[in-house]
Symmetry: C2
DNA sequence: ATTCTGCATTCTGCATACAATTTACGCGCT
DNA sequence: AGCGCGTAAATTGTATGCAGAATGCAGAAT
């Protein structure tokens, strides 16, 4: 991941103008993979995809390398790239790693957060609670993710943030499968409130412990909704 | 994620034969960057490098994307890629993140290590102590790194292992600068012994704490030897 | 003397063409 | 009929050519 670039994920960013073709191809493929339009385990043909995306094979291949580094696709020599499978084991490991990273981030954030950071976090929390009350699922999820990203940024550690970003990309994918099946809104809101309180108290150990547990629970909840159909373990 | 773990990083792998050109270019550039043959902050020209490596620009550009994802080079639109600078801040953050990851790995490893894992670790520790007594610096470092990697693998968490790998690549680079300036051999050996003991006792908290502290100390020791010449902060 | 402007050069970005490797199919053999 | 082999089609990997952007330089205007 490029250390400097602000939003390489192209998440509805207003300035899509100044993006190279391979970046746009990568962004497009990312969302396609996350949304399941490219099913896990399926094979991709360069010529077909390049026509579909309206670019030539050269930038497409470059995009493939990027996505492979993010763990979204799997590259084999002289063979068609495969969309990475999303096995249950993989999801479990993924959220475990994510929980560990965010725990560390929270510990550091508790030490380094500025008042401005905390204010921003409070604002987000308030907004999220609003969306929670109004039942606005999409907005709720968006703010929720932003809170996690904000905490990670508050840790003021670039490599950590980058590692987090790549893991988040994969997690989004799993989350999309359980689309809105997250029935633990209330728990989640409360947990966020507790984490915020710990950060404000500069209690890094507690903040880390709470955030880690929160992420782990999110993962297990997600796994439970996916449990009835574990067919995702593509060969 | 991927059930069958392979070694896409091609770290001096014995079977270099079946590697694509872009992989070989990436591997070659990796070592060049780690060894400082491509100085931090310097710019790379595609045509020049492609001639130097004996490949065309296409696979070289693909290799660039991979290295950028690993954080070793920095890509700017329509500009020459730059070898990532190694600022003091960056090194500090890097080892901080690395310490966090390895702490988590040790905690998990304490739960999941098989007897075989522990036996392997004991063997490595013995060998390392041997190299330590004989003053064999290179071998010592090799075994040392292998111990860390082994502990991370013992955590049985693929995403975590992958994140660790990319961070290690950058750390190797910093370590190369302080080449052998690590005067804390004895400390390091003892610390490793304590970590091993904690793992054998299945005490995850202690193992994590010890390993994290160990990595942090390695980082600070490295920074101290680099302190007199902080010129590495390329613009 | 300095700065702005326009042009020429150089380099990146992309597309296309070519080579190598894999996969598919059909023929012949057992 | 089943299996193995060889050839052809398809697909990935690599090289090259061309267009657009950035950089450097020269000259003119202030």
């Amino acid at each position: 991941m490029q250390p400097k670039s602000e939003a390489p994920k192209g998440r509805k960013s207003p300035k899509l103008k100044r993006m190279g073709l391979h970046e746009r191809a990568a962004a497009r493929m990312r969302t396609m993979i996350i949304r399941g339009e490219l099913p896990p385990g399926s094979q991709t043909q360069e010529t077909r995809l390049s026509k579909e995306l309206g670019v030539s094979r050269t930038p497409l291949r470059e995009a493939m390398k990027v996505l492979a580094a993010e763990g979204l696709i799997e590259l084999r020599p002289n063979r068609s790239p495969r969309i990475a499978a999303l096995a249950v084991d993989g999801i479990s490991e993924l959220f475990e790693a994510l929980a560990g990273i965010e725990r560390l981030a929270a510990e550091l954030a508790a030490q380094r957060a500025t008042e401005r950071d905390l204010a921003r976090l409070r604002t987000l929390q308030t907004r999220m609670e609003g969306h929670h009350r109004n039942g606005k699922l999409d907005d709720y999820f968006a703010i929720n993710g932003e809170i996690h990203n904000t905490i990670v940024r508050m840790a003021r550690n670039t490599p950590l943030r980058e590692a987090h970003e790549t893991l988040i990309a994969r997690a989004e994918r799993a989350r999309y499968l359980a689309l809105g099946a997250d029935r633990r809104w209330s728990n989640s809101v409360d947990e966020h409130a507790n984490i915020l309180a710990a950060l404000e108290a500069r209690d890094g150990e507690a903040a880390g412990r709470l955030l880690g547990a929160h992420v782990r629970q999110t993962g297990t909840a997600l796994l439970e909704t996916l449990a009835p159909k574990p067919k995702l373990t593509a060969a």
